[in-house]
Amino acid sequence: MITVKDIYKSFGKVKAVRGVSFDAPDGKITGLLGPNGAGKSTTLRVLYTVLKPDRGSANIDGADVATNSLSAREKIGALPHGAGLYPHLTARENIAYFARLCGLDKAEIDDRVDKIVKLLDIAEFAERRTKGFSQGQRTKVALARALVHDPQNIILDEPTNGLDVMATRSLRELILKLKDDGRCVLFSSHVMQEVAALCDDICIIAHGRVAIDDSIDGIRQRTGCDDIEDAFVEAIHRVEPE
C-alpha cells in the first residue's frame, strides 16, 4: 500500500510536482497517467526514495520515504525509467547481484532467480552477457531484477516504453498476475489506452498536479467524455499551468 500526501518537489525554478496526493492500495493496479513532463517520474522517484520531497509526505506500508527511507526501500521493487544493466554481467548475474544486495542468502538467491527467470520467460538469454540485448530483453531483465526480492509494492516508470506488441502483452499479463497475488502495483504511462486496459484506479497528472483520481468509469462520468482519449485531454485542460 502506497500513500502519497500532498508532495511538492522543485528543481531550481522548475516546480515539477505541486501537491500530488493519491493512494495505491494492495491488490490493485494504480496508473499514473500524464503527458510528458507532467511530474510522473518525479513523483515515482520520491516514492522509491532517490529524491526527497520538499513538502508533504509519502509512505510505503507505513514507512515514510523521507524519514525512514531504508525501510521504505525494503518494501518496494522499482523499475526506474530507462533502467540500465551491467553489460559485462550475464542477465542472471545482473539479477543475482540485486538479490544479494537485498540481503537474500545464497540458497534463496538461486531459488528466487530461477523462479523469476521462468516467470518472465528469460531463460533463453539468461546466461548471456547483457551487452547488445534488445530493448525488450533489457526491460525484462531490469524488471526481473526489481522483482527478485519478492516485494509487496511494485513501482514501474513507463515500463512499456520501447517494447513491441508481444513484450507489452507479456508485461501486461505479469502485472495482472502481481495484482492477483495481492500486490500493490503503481505504474506510470503517457498512453491512455494502455492505462485504461489495465488499471483499477487512474491518477491523471498534469503540470505537477492531480487532475482526476478515479476509476475509468468515474473519469468518464466526471469529464462527460465517453471516449477515453477525450476524457484524458479534458482532464488535463482542467489543471492551470503554473
Binding site: L51, L70, G82, G84, Y86, L101
Partner: protein
C-alpha cells in the same frame, strides 16, 4: 559490511571482464614505465660512450696558421677538417646546424704567439643545442690543455718551475656511492609507480560513478534497501584493488627490467632487490586510497564518461607535480614533506634506492598523513554520493 563486500565483488568481476580496464590496469600502466625507462637509460649510456671514444671531426678555418695546435688536437682524438670559407659563414653554418662547432684560427695567430700576445682563436658553437654543447666543451677543453702546455714550456725556458703556475692542487672527493648516483635517474621510478597505480583504477573510478549514471544502472541501484555509504565504499575498495594490482605489476616489471639494463656502465648499482620492492609496495599502499578516493570524487562530479575521462587525465598529473618540483629544486627530504601524499612516498623510495638509512619518523608521518587524507577524501565521496544531484 555484507553489502560493501557484495558491491566490491561485483565491481571486481565486472571490471575483470572489461578489456579497457584490464588494458589500462594490467598492461598500459605497468609496462609503459619500464619501457620508457629502459629507452632513456640506454640512450644516455649510448651517448656517454659515444662521445668519449669517437673521433671528433672539428671544422677548422685557417688550419695552416697553427700546425702545432692541429697536431696537438689530433693527439686528443680531434681531427681537423676543412671548415667554411670564413668566420661569418661558420656562424651561419652553426646557426643552421650544418656544423656543431667550428674553430677559427686567424692569420696573425703565429705572430701573436711569438710576440707573447694572447693569441686570438674563436670557437663558434650554439650553447642552446645540448648535443653540440658537448662537442664544443670537448674542443674548448683541448684548447685549454694546449694553453697550459704552452705556458709550461714558456716558464721552463725562463728557468721557472712550471709548478709555480699551479698554486692550488684541488682534490675533488666524490662521496656519492653507486647506489646514490642511481637515485637521480631512478627517482623517475616514483612517477611510474604513481602513474601505474592511478591508471589501474582510473576506468573503475569512472565506471562506478559517471559510467553507472550514464548507462542508467545507478537509479535502480539506489532504489535498493542498502545505504549509499556502503555502495560507494565498496566501489572505492574495488578501485583500490585494481590500483594495487597495477602497482604490484609495475614494481615487478621494474625489478625484472632493471636486471637487463647495463646500469653499471653509468656507475650505478640501484638498491632495488626483492626486499626494497616489498617495502616500496608497503609505502605506496596508503597512497592507493588517496588516489582511488580522489579519482572517484572527481568522476562523481562529471556528467558523462567522456567528461570524466578528461578530468581524470588531469588528476593523473596532479600527484606527480610535487615530485617534479622537488626533483627540479633537488630538495632534501624534510619532515614536513612527509605530510604530502605521493611526494613522501617518492622521497622514501629514493632513500631506499640510495641504500640510505630510512628515517622511522618519516615513514610513520608519511603513512599516517596519507591514510588520513585518503579517509577524508573517501568520506567526502560518501557525503557527495548522498546528494540528489548525483542522478544528474
Amino acid at each position: 559490511m555484507g553489502t560493501l563486500f557484495t558491491v566490491f565483488l561485483k565491481e571486481v568481476l565486472d571490471n575483470f571482464r572489461d578489456r579497457r580496464t584490464l588494458g589500462s590496469a594490467l598492461l598500459m600502466g605497468p609496462i609503459f614505465g619500464p619501457m620508457l625507462f629502459a629507452f632513456v637509460i640506454n640512450l644516455s649510456i649510448e651517448r656517454s660512450l659515444e662521445s668519449a671514444e669517437t673521433t671528433l671531426e672539428l671544422p677548422v678555418i685557417g688550419e695552416q696558421h697553427a700546425p702545432n695546435l692541429v697536431s696537438f688536437l689530433r693527439s686528443r682524438n680531434i681531427e681537423a677538417v676543412a671548415g667554411p670559407a670564413d668566420a661569418a659563414a661558420a656562424m651561419a653554418a652553426v646557426k643552421l646546424g650544418t656544423h656543431d662547432v667550428v674553430l677559427v684560427i686567424p692569420e696573425e695567430f703565429g705572430e701573436q704567439l711569438g710576440d707573447m700576445i694572447p693569441a686570438r682563436v674563436a670557437l663558434i658553437s650554439d650553447q642552446a643545442n645540448s648535443d653540440a654543447d658537448r662537442d664544443a666543451r670537448r674542443a674548448s677543453n683541448a684548447l685549454l690543455a694546449y694553453q697550459q702546455l704552452l705556458a709550461g714550456t714558456r716558464v721552463i725556458a725562463r728557468g721557472i718551475n712550471p709548478r709555480a703556475l699551479q698554486p692550488l692542487n684541488i682534490d675533488e672527493v666524490d662521496v656519492s656511492t653507486p647506489s646514490g648516483r642511481s637515485a637521480m635517474l631512478l627517482g623517475m621510478m616514483s612517477y611510474f609507480f604513481v602513474f601505474a597505480a592511478l591508471m589501474g583504477g582510473m576506468y573503475l573510478a569512472i565506471d562506478t560513478t559517471a559510467g553507472e549514471r550514464e548507462r542508467g544502472s545507478l537509479e535502480p541501484l539506489l532504489s535498493l534497501p542498502v545505504t549509499r555509504d556502503q555502495l560507494i565504499y565498496g566501489k572505492i575498495a574495488a578501485t583500490c584493488l585494481f590500483m594495487t594490482l597495477s602497482l604490484m605489476l609495475s614494481l615487478t616489471a621494474f625489478y625484472v627490467s632493471l636486471k637487463f639494463m647495463p646500469l653499471e656502465q653509468l656507475g650505478m648499482t640501484p638498491n632495488f632487490g626483492p626486499a626494497v620492492v616489498l617495502a616500496a609496495l608497503a609505502i605506496f599502499l596508503p597512497f592507493i586510497l588517496v588516489g582511488a578516493a580522489l579519482m572517484t570524487l572527481v568522476a562523481s562530479f562529471t556528467k558523462s564518461y567522456r567528461e570524466a575521462q578528461t578530468w581524470l587525465s588531469v588528476v593523473l598529473i596532479a600527484p606527480t607535480m610535487p615530485i617534479l618540483i622537488v626533483s627540479i629544486l633537488t630538495l632534501r627530504p624534510r619532515t614536513e614533506f612527509m605530510l604530502i601524499p605521493s611526494l613522501s612516498q617518492h622521497l622514501l623510495l629514493v632513500d631506499m634506492v640510495k641504500n640510505e638509512p630510512i628515517n622511522g619518523l618519516h615513514v610513520a608521518i608519511s603513512v599516517t598523513s596519507t591514510l588520513v587524507i585518503g579517509i577524508i577524501l573517501a568520506w567526502v565521496c560518501a557525503r557527495l554520493y548522498r546528494r540528489e544531484g548525483l542522478l544528474g
